[in-house]
Symmetry: C2
Subunit: 311 residues, 2 copies
């Protein structure tokens, strides 16, 4: 497992924002802006604050409160608009009329995110290579929404190969919840239909369609997509927390859950050494986790009462 | 600033629990237990999970929900009892009758915490020394409740001096909210009166009295205590977040707030190079921060409406 939950704001988006905000500052931008209901907004708020840039986050009412608080205490202007597509529309207007530097997609259909930021994900590939003793694993599994992370990590390994530092890049495994990349691989182009998945504890993986870059990473690496179910994700979140003491966000553990599914189907053996990227810390959306837990237990102040309250 | 908010569970308690849980496992304990409404419980839950030990957290109803969720998803048994003193009473019973390995105080009056765990804080001193190029600062400020961290960090510097690695250990500055250590220094013994501070966003610093070890760290280092007010803490939390992109817990930024107070009084100059320890990340108690922020802004999906919603 490559644990990205310990980055400055607790997600792999810090890799992205470190590069995107540096580029924005260099380009003379005064305001960076993003369409986000989650980790990318919180990460952008932090890097924008450190760089002295203004930050606008276009979001939805469903934004988890801890993430809203983190964004706003760091000085970001957070505004909810009615629908997911509205965020891109307003962001595009802001880019064109106000000179906002965009650090997420703002096109429809989505065309991937800020391409400087995506370069930041390459450092995950470099670190995996370094931490494995200067070699690539056989496969790398990544929780995937529009595929920025999946593509960026793939690009890092591809460049390691181009530099002659590895023999063979890993197969990329996209852990998705919509099933679109699975369809896209079958059809050879991004899938544009409607998803049956409308809500999820792994809400950060809810994509409105798939992208070319995610498909490219899977095709070029002879990889695959695994559609992970809600139960598998919540179960993996608990298993990781109880066995390792690592509390990952539901979206963040999707790659581990996908590998669990592959193992159960007897398909993990072929991959050899596999790295799953844990993309995000759970503390940013405790409400989703709380729904899987009983309410706070209370007891009279005696050992007997406390022991009786413990399952 | 020494940033301890990026430890595995987001607080300096991870230094403590890494050592305390290792000791518990070596001593053959099957269950570790703690009286905590905050970071120590979350940290203990994580290290106990990783070590395969059971974990009991005796807490209060005021426990922030994100911390409860983190503890329980990691397998800890969390039980609220009516009063702060009840936690110590039940913990003592559990230690004596159930063989729980205690990782917090369970005596009245409080006598400091698990002394193996406190050794873990010494690594903060070692790292400050290393990060400053193998020397000690003139002063180190630490957010202080019962003073485990203050004392442990002081002990680390004292031992660096004993090993001949530094000339002079730093003056220790306790950032407190109760005012007890200030009184204790005046009177030369731990202060046992009642505090006027009953609630605070920095609730992790609410101590029911002061301890000998905190007083020892201050006296031996010719240090001082600074009583920090609620406004100074909340203001520093926002300043740190907006300037640096670091969202610290209210309790965690108390040392920075104390240095701000000293600077305003013109007393910071005497100290020379000063390190403030940021002890904890803010994501664990966003509700306290939310009270300082307006509610989520909403706008129709036009740039004009969004710009109008931004202050």
């Amino acid at each position: 497992m490559k644990d990205e939950s310990r980055n400055p704001t607790g997600s792999f988006k810090d890799r992205f924002c470190a590069v995107a905000v540096s580029k924005a500052a260099r380009a003379g931008a005064r305001t960076v802006a993003v369409a986000s209901t989650g980790n990318q907004g919180a990460s952008l708020a932090a890097y924008a604050a450190a760089a002295g840039l203004g930050c606008v986050v276009l979001t939805l009412e469903t934004l988890p409160e801890p993430l809203r608080v983190a964004m706003e205490i760091m000085g970001a202007h957070v505004v909810a608009v009615p629908t997911p597509a509205d965020r891109w529309k307003v962001l595009r207007e802001g880019v064109e009329r106000e000179g906002w530097f965009p650090v997420s997609n703002y096109l429809a259909p989505p065309a991937g995110s800020n391409y400087y930021g995506i370069e930041g994900y390459k450092t995950i590939a470099y670190e995996i290579w370094e931490q494995l003793g200067r070699r690539a694993p056989r496969a790398v599994a990544v929780p995937t929404c529009y595929g920025d992370g999946l593509y960026g990590i793939w690009k890092g390994f591809r460049e390691l190969k181009a530099m002659g530092l590895i023999e063979e890049p890993p197969r990329m495994i996209a852990a998705e919840i919509s099933g679109w990349l699975t369809r896209s691989l079958e059809e050879g182009k991004p899938w544009e239909g409607e998803s049956a998945v409308r809500s999820s504890a792994a809400f950060n993986l809810l994509a409105s369609r798939s992208t070319w870059q995610a498909l490219a990473a899977l095709r070029e690496s002879r990889g695959e997509a695994v559609q992970v179910g809600e139960d598998a994700i919540l179960s993996m979140q608990q298993t990781l927390a109880r066995r390792e003491g690592i509390y990952g966000e539901a979206s963040g553990v999707a790659a581990l859950a996908a590998l669990g599914d592959l193992a159960r189907k007897g398909q993990a053996g072929e991959a050899g050494e596999v790295v799953a990227v844990l993309t995000s810390a759970g503390m940013k959306d405790p409400a989703a986790t709380a729904r899987t837990l009983p309410p706070l237990r209370r007891a009279e102040p005696t050992l007997k009462a406390v022991m009786g309250a413990i399952p």
